[in-house]
């Protein structure tokens, strides 16, 4: 949020700040706001729909109708809006948007442990080696976000699986530093916390005038990055309080017909929030949908009866809404979890973790849609064609969003790759 990478030296920066060049003055926030409201949208945006726990490819986007029952599972394939592409019969609405989708059936990743795979699939790198890599939203927002924006460049909402202590929302900005952490919307009904002042309008203005004077005089007497950064952050928080863009967080604003299309589930409302935020220029929004860790019968039932219908409604409404608003070509929607699930149903009627062959789905973002890329064998045990590793996946996302994935970054004097050096972009998408 606070920009530390302007290319100015620290000294330049302090001089400019002292001269009043940087940072909108408090009295000038109204015009500054007007500019932001009409400001340019970033060229592309991204919505990550994170299926926490690891969704089963055999129950969603890579069905094996001809395999024996213990592989095939309970669902049947149905036709979709694209001839030759079939999806699970539990996703009838999603079936109608497949002409906007590219299914990657060749996902193949090394990690089958939630804790590490969640990080691996969020950052593109395995944990360890003394480097903390940023989560996808921080990485993307840093590359394509508008540093001067009043609105956050990265927002996370939704619910992680079962245990939010062991499996929290992944919000690590890694080596990019805390300024690149997301704004987390914990409660969709409340939106951004603490946006309203307690004092009456006149009192509040009165306070701000004095605060501004004290802020300036301290920053002049003890000029430091910290004092200036605090001052800028306060001013931006005040802008946000007055901003019309921030009403994007307020779902009560939404006409009922539109919000009902998304379903009244928490995930559906998260998808709606994501669309509203992208609409006002937020470049990256992540929405969690939990309960995909279907090891045994009770979890399977919950997933089939509650989660899949929520997904079907929320995802299809999101894609249709983006399409109707002409935003789909510039908005990439990613459907993924940390891994897939075992091809064979286990003796507890569930499926376990499986990274060797699974599926992710991309929508919009200007990709060549309406296709399936990659193929698994008859049982879904191995990738036969179109293998996509973690690095390949990240390189592809970068390419779609217009980010150079071969870029090097220097962290603590250590040269690092934005994305794994050997990564190959999935060329069929372009």
């Amino acid at each position: 949020m606070f920009d530390t990478n302007t290319g100015f030296t620290r000294r330049d920066w302090l001089k400019l700040a002292a001269a009043g060049v940087l940072g909108p003055s408090m009295s000038g926030w109204m015009p500054a706001l007007a500019q932001q409201a009409q400001g340019q949208r970033p060229r592309k945006s991204c919505i990550l729909l994170w299926m926490d726990g690891g969704p089963s490819q055999h129950e969603t986007f890579d069905l094996k109708p001809d395999a024996p029952a213990e592989i095939r599972g309970a669902f049947r394939p149905i036709a979709t809006s694209v001839a030759g592409i079939q999806v699970s019969d539990r996703l009838p609405r999603v079936a109608q948007i497949m002409h906007h989708a590219a299914v990657l059936r060749g996902m193949s990743t090394p990690d089958s442990n939630h804790l590490t795979a969640r990080v691996h699939m969020h950052t593109g790198f395995r944990q360890g080696g003394g480097v903390d890599y940023p989560t996808m939203g921080s990485l993307v927002a840093n590359e394509i976000g508008d540093r001067q924006s009043v609105m956050p460049n990265f927002v996370v909402t939704g619910v992680p699986t079962y245990d939010s202590v062991r499996f929290p929302l992944i919000t690590t900005p890694g080596y990019l530093g805390p300024a690149h952490a997301p704004l987390v919307v914990n409660d969709l009904r409340r939106g951004v916390e603490n946006l309203r002042g307690h004092a009456a309008h006149g009192d509040f203005q009165d306070r701000l005038t004095i605060l501004q004077e004290m802020q300036r005089s301290f920053a002049q007497a003890s000029p430091s990055n910290a004092a200036q950064a605090q001052r800028t952050t306060v001013e931006r928080a005040l802008q946000l309080m007055r901003s019309r863009a921030v009403s994007a967080f307020d779902l009560n604003d939404e006409p009922t017909f539109s919000s009902s299309a998304y379903g009244d589930s928490y995930f559906g409302q998260g998808c709606l929030l994501a669309r509203r935020l992208v609409d006002v220029g937020v470049p990256f929004v992540e929405v969690y949908l939990p309960d995909w860790d279907t090891h045994f019968d009770t979890r399977v039932q919950k997933n089939w009866n509650v989660i899949l219908p929520q997904l079907d409604r929320g995802l299809s409404a999101l894609i249709n809404d983006l399409d109707m608003r002409g935003m789909l070509d510039t908005t990439l929607v990613i459907w993924m979890g940390e891994f897939g699930r075992t091809p064979r149903v286990n003796n507890r009627a569930g499926r376990d973790h499986y990274g060797r062959a699974w599926s992710t789905v991309l929508f919009g973002g200007g990709i060549r849609a309406g296709q399936v890329i990659g193929r698994t064998d008859a049982q879904g045990a191995n990738v036969e064609a179109g293998r996509v590793g973690v690095g390949d996946f990240f390189a592809t996302i970068c390419q779609i969003l217009g980010i150079d994935h071969t870029k090097e970054v220097t962290v603590r004097e250590r040269p690092l790759q934005l994305v794994d050096r050997d990564a190959k972009v999935v060329s069929e998408l372009f």
Binding site: R126, L188, E193, L195, M214, V234
Partner: protein, 536 residues
């Protein structure tokens, strides 16, 4: 400076034997604090002279009181304390203040808190043990135990001892090797986990050689609780005789050398003789905390120095390597020597640092030093940790009982439509979670890391907008407006208001309906200033 080039020969078995007389209580007491402080200032002056940089003048009493209180006891002083100190004419008042703060139990709690933050940032310690560890470590600091003894206990703790918190926070030998070397030796061997490092001289075998010391650590559930042990489990066959302590580098995609067997070896030091079974950590702890270990004292004094000055001699503070170019190599050596000679006494070193002119300088730059922030011509402006900010807010408000509700409910709570299991976090816990935005791991304390959500909370959360006890007290005491404004400035900024500030604030109060509303608004303004949230 290439201190560690000399390590292989500096460490002998004899040295290890000598070092085993670890100091239960540090012996800094009789040592010459003023002399060390002068030596610190001499070293700094040499560097300033070399660049023709003039130091800023001495901080006034208000600036010093606020800074040293924040740095040692983790909160601003009360208004009463500030008024008393600012009225004092005792020529010894700064030295006495330092002693008084070091005798306050909040000194130990503050530094224990810093270590807990660091351990949290790099591992996953057992939450249920945090309070016990905080108490243990805080007591050790407050009693003045030697750092060598404290670290020895952290590394070797068995059973359910609170000192075992550090080891338990790390899930595998490699992680323990990484944090042990960073925290206690000030080097980042972990960069060599996967391959030899291209930019310094750490070898993959340095990392895994240290990791091998932790291969026997396990946690076993017994009747008395979860027990940390290195002894063989009953019924387990001992290893083949003579195999000693080794670790096999695990295979992984990014790693070279997978499958290779590495023997337990002290960092750039000898391979100790170790038994085929039983604890290995004592041998490592002896070596780590030995007086002769040049890494150990250097890492400790460097961390302390960076705490007080906001900047270390190298960056990051735990990354000394062959090509490091410390800004003040002689000073670093001097501090390390003094630390060892004092029996690894934290309090003594803090006394020396805080007594120096360098520490007592103003943070306000002058024309002759404004372009430099490495050579200590003026004090750095530091940020407060979440703990320090919370404790300072509460101190300034007059210790109110704060309601919770700063953070929204946990996501799963909303989702499942019911309350979460267990108690809701306290207002303090909520605050810490919400306001801890630092990259603790980087050791940087001069970078402001709060974002818009934190600033909004400080401005608009209901906790900070109710009428606090300090305001009620001023209203009830029927203090004059001017007196009340003075007290509110002392309670927050640890100084008296300027004439202009007095004018602005009386004007503000006069425009309100009643005094309570006026004072509450004044406090609100002060809380949201950069001057309040920073340590300068």
């Amino acid at each position: 400076m290439r201190i560690h080039r000399t390590i292989p020969c500096a460490l002998t078995l004899l040295a290890m034997a000598l070092a085993s007389e670890r100091t239960a209580f540090a012996q800094g007491a009789g040592r010459d604090v003023a002399g060390v402080a002068k030596a610190i200032d001499r070293e700094i002056q040499v560097k300033l002279d070399g660049k023709s940089i003039q130091p800023s003048p001495r901080a006034d009493d208000a600036e010093f009181l606020r800074r040293v209180s924040l740095d040692i006891t983790g909160r601003i002083p009360t208004s009463e304390r500030a008024a008393g100190y600012l009225a004092s004419t005792d020529p010894q008042r700064r030295g006495k203040l330092i002693d008084e703060l070091l005798a306050d139990t909040r000194y130990g709690e503050t530094f224990a808190g810093n270590w807990i933050d660091l351990i949290h940032a790099t591992g996953s310690p057992p939450r249920s043990m945090t309070a016990g560890f905080r108490k243990w470590l805080g007591d050790e600091f407050n009693q003045g135990s030697g750092w060598d003894k404290i670290v020895h206990e952290m590394l070797t703790a068995e059973g359910t001892k609170p000192a075992g918190y550090f080891v338990r926070a790390n899930k595998e030998p490699g992680q323990l090797a990484g944090t042990t070397t960073r925290f206690f030796l000030g080097v980042r061997v972990e960069c060599a986990e996967c391959h030899n490092h291209p930019f310094n001289d750490w070898k993959q075998t340095d990392y895994w050689g240290m990791a091998a010391f932790f291969t026997r650590v396990k946690q076993v559930n017994e009747k008395g609780g979860n027990v940390l042990t290195e002894n063989p489990l009953p019924g387990k066959k001992p290893k083949s005789p003579g195999s000693g302590a080794t670790i096999t580098i695990p295979n992984s995609g990014v790693r070279t050398g997978g499958g290779k067997l590495v023997k337990a070896t002290f960092l750039k030091g000898p391979e100790p003789k170790l038994s085929d079974e039983g604890p290995l950590r004592p041998a490592l702890a002896e070596w780590v905390t030995a007086k002769e270990n040049p890494y150990f004292a250097r890492a400790a004094v460097h961390r302390l120095w960076a705490h007080f000055f906001g900047i270390g001699f190298v960056r990051p503070i735990d990354d000394f390597h062959a090509d490091s170019e410390p800004s003040h190599p002689e000073l670093l050596q001097l501090l390390a020597r003094e630390f060892v000679a004092s029996g690894h006494d934290h309090k003594h070193l803090i006394r020396c640092i805080c007594t120096s002119e360098a520490y007592q300088r103003s943070s306000k730059p002058i024309a002759q030093n404004q372009d430099d922030d490495a050579l200590l011509g003026r004090m750095a402006v530091k940020v407060m940790t979440a703990d320090v900010l919370f404790d300072s807010l509460v101190t300034a408000m007059g210790n109110p009982k704060l309601p919770g509700g700063l953070g929204a409910p946990l996501p799963y709570e909303i989702y499942s439509g019911g309350a979460a299991k267990g108690a809701r976090p306290s207002a303090r816990e909520e605050f810490l979670k919400f306001f801890d935005t630092r990259d603790v791991d980087s050791g940087v304390t001069t970078e402001y890391t709060h974002g818009i959500p934190q600033v909004l909370a400080l401005m608009n959360a209901k906790q900070f907008n109710a009428t606090p006890p300090v305001v009620e007290k001023l209203v009830n005491a029927k203090a004059s407006k001017e007196k009340a404004i003075e007290m509110l400035f002392l309670a927050t900024l640890t100084r008296y208001p300027t004439a202009n500030e007095m004018k602005l604030m009386t004007g503000y109060i006069d425009r309100r309906d009643d005094l309570a509303a006026g004072y509450t608004g004044v406090l609100w303004i002060l809380f949201n200033t950069n001057e309040f949230v920073l340590n300068h």
